[in-house]
């Protein structure tokens, strides 16, 4: 009799413990690739985390986590220590996220900018940054005097190549003589190297500088050299008030709050989210008055058209560097093609590093 009594007691405690754990102790974890104060990529994810916290949900974060073996250790650690939902916010966390997700089927995972959802508890999400790049390309094409746009690229992944292509296509539309010069720095974050790359591009005749890296060093270099630049991921205007024409701003907050609440209330399901200007996940910083009222008006109209879907960043005809057709006239590139983009369009100089 006592034996049964103990059995009930133990299972009661167990159940009680479990239910307390799943309601009151709901926790969300974040893994960042840079420091929260980079004023770029990680800063914006951290703003999203702050919004989740403000919605009354407990969160923790780990910053400056290198992509690779360290990432798996950190993600595993978060999963083990009772986090119910984990956001991994860099492309390089893709495999570690899926690996850990396999071992923790009760924990939900959200991986930014990736495409692998190997288990039912992994969702992916990204923003259509390329819509922002289209606007930058339009502005750059109009503002450049040397017809040379300098582009600081990080790693040869579809995300980065898509940005280069979207920008170049938009710039060509307003200025057929445009040339895009690219420097690969093989880092997301090394201010010294980013500054040197910006300087090299400026010395090679670029008078508009664009970056797909996370620090504010390139815009500061552009400010010093008196050329135009664009902020990346976050509004970088105060770091280069004269030089910055506008910034592409990533706004993750609404998505993070929505997903965290869904996970807490048990309505979370696997999905692949790709939001853009329309949903507000991509936003633009204030336009520099140096652009002139006409160009600002033009760009604002283009921004509206991109958001409404009237204009698409990748509208045919689009050719690759060798002149083969990628997207036929009158067609637009589908999401599958965009997600796997691995060739330059015509007009971009150089080869993609392999």
């Amino acid at each position: 009799m006592y034996k049964n009594f103990f059995r009930y007691l133990i299972s009661a405690i167990f159940l009680l413990g479990f239910s307390v754990n799943s309601n009151a102790d709901f926790k969300v974890g974040f893994v960042y690739v840079g420091p929260t104060g980079d004023h770029g990529w990680t800063f914006q994810h951290h703003e999203g985390r702050n919004a989740v916290e403000a919605a009354g949900i407990k969160t923790t974060f780990v910053e400056s986590v290198p992509e690779g073996a360290d990432a798996e250790r950190v993600i595993r650690q978060l999963a083990q220590s009772g986090h119910d939902l984990i956001f991994t916010t860099s492309f390089g966390y893709m495999d570690p996220t899926n690996k850990v997700a396999k071992d923790f089927p009760n924990v939900k995972f959200e991986h930014a900018t990736g495409y692998k959802r190997e288990h039912s508890n992994v969702s992916t999400y990204s923003a259509r940054f390329y819509e922002g790049r289209t606007l930058l390309g339009h502005i750059a094409g109009k503002m450049t005097k040397t017809n040379t746009i300098g582009y600081i690229a990080s790693f040869p992944i579809p995300e980065v190549i898509r940005g280069i292509n979207a920008m170049t296509l938009a710039a060509q539309k307003v200025n057929p003589n445009i040339k895009t010069k690219i420097v690969w720095v093989f880092t997301w974050y090394d201010p010294g190297k980013e500054a040197e790359a910006a300087q090299a591009l400026i010395d090679q005749g670029a008078d508009v500088i664009m970056q797909h890296t996370d620090s504010t060093a390139p815009v500061q270099t552009a400010e010093k050299a008196g050329v135009w630049s664009f902020g990346q991921a976050s509004d970088m205007q105060r770091f280069a008030p004269k030089s910055i024409l506008t910034s592409i701003i990533d706004d993750w907050a609404p998505y993070y709050v929505e997903r965290a609440i869904a996970a807490r209330d048990g309505t979370w399901n696997q999905q692949d989210t790709w939001h853009g200007l329309k949903e507000g996940m991509v936003a633009m910083g204030p336009y520099n008055s140096a652009m002139g009222a006409d160009l600002v008006k033009e760009v604002e109209q283009l921004q509206k058209d991109l958001a409404s879907g009237k204009v698409h960043s990748f509208t045919g005809p689009i050719y690759d560097q060798k002149g083969n057709i990628l997207v036929a006239e009158g067609k637009v590139a589908d999401d599958g093609m965009l997600a796997g983009m691995s060739v330059y369009v015509k007009g971009v100089e150089g080869d993609i590093p392999k």
Binding site: P35, K181, A200, Q220
Partner: protein
């Protein structure tokens, strides 16, 4: 692409600017090593210098205090190393590695509130001459005072080691601390001074990054430059002038490979990224072939613990 003469001048100017932290840190470490002490904490001392300089600039709004303060912070942190290795006789290599790890962690902690604050414009000298003289203008003028100091430093160091009595004492202590001690030289004191001097130069090298080169504070912003400075000292076979040459080659190829990408050379980018390391090693090995000279410059007792029997 443009490769006219005035452009080459600008290019050389920016190569010089990028080599400054390497020259400063390597020159400081060179003196430390010539006294027989191997301090692997260069990276840690640099990053502490970077955060101290930037923090002081934000707090006091005075660049002079910031520069001096960064050197002092290098002195203070190297004092820890000096106390451990000279007074407590710990192993140089282990203590130096610990100093680097400690420095990186401490700087990240101290720097929490200074991330994302825009830096201040550092005054440059002779900026009008820079514009008016083609080719030589951007090479010789329009730099910060720290750059001029950095380029004078290897020559001063060379003079100090070869022509002054103090330099002779430092070399004696590094070669044979026992004989030096028998001559009545206070070996421990000399080594302390060399360690602290090395710390000051590394602190300045860090402040150059956070105040002048990329004026902002960012975690881990030295990005391995301390390790390159350490390697330079060895590959330059402890000769100050060769340190200068090595630093210029390293800085030069780093900048040139970015230019080659921008120009559109069809060379694999990964190879270009490795080029600075390869070229620096090759050149320094080639110019340091003379084994007699190497023996003359190498501190024989490098990294060995010295303690005076009483």
């Amino acid at each position: 692409m443009s490769l006219d003469i005035s452009f080459i001048g600008i290019l050389i100017g920016s190569i010089m600017a990028s080599s400054v932290p390497l020259i400063l840190a390597a020159s400081g470490e060179l003196i430390t090593e010539r006294s027989g002490v191997l301090n692997l904490g260069v990276e840690g001392m640099m990053i502490i210098g970077a955060i101290s300089g930037f923090a002081l600039m934000v707090i006091t709004d005075n660049l002079f205090i910031a520069i001096v303060g960064s050197m002092l912070s290098g002195v203070i942190i190297s004092l820890i190393f000096g106390f451990l290795t000279q007074s407590l006789l710990t192993n140089h290599v282990a203590t130096g590695l610990a100093l680097t790890i400690f420095g990186i962690g401490l700087s990240a902690m101290l720097g929490k509130n200074f991330v994302g604050i825009p830096g201040k414009e550092f005054p440059i000298l002779f900026s009008s001459l820079r514009e008016s003289i083609p080719f030589f203008g951007p090479i010789l003028f329009g730099h910060s005072i720290v750059l001029y100091f950095a380029f004078a430093l290897p020559f001063l160091t060379n003079y100090f080691l070869k022509k002054t009595k103090l330099g002779l004492i430092v070399r004696a202590v590094g070669d044979s601390p026992v004989s030096a001690s028998n001559q009545g030289i206070n070996v421990i004191l000399v080594r302390y001074c060399c360690i602290l001097y090395g710390g000051a130069m590394c602190g300045l090298a860090g402040a150059y990054l956070s105040l002048i080169y990329t004026p902002q504070w960012i975690e881990n912003m030295t990005a391995g430059r301390g390790w390159i400075a350490l390697a330079l000292v060895v590959f330059a076979t402890w000769s100050p002038i060769k340190v200068l040459i090595g630093a210029l080659i390293f800085g030069g190829i780093t900048i040139l490979q970015l230019h080659m990408q921008a120009i559109g050379f069809r060379i694999p980018v990964q190879f270009l990224s490795a080029l600075p390391y390869l070229m620096t090693i090759i050149v320094l090995v080639v110019i340091s072939r003379d084994s007699r000279k190497i023996k003359l410059n190498t501190p024989t007792s490098l990294g060995r613990i010295f303690y005076k029997e009483k």
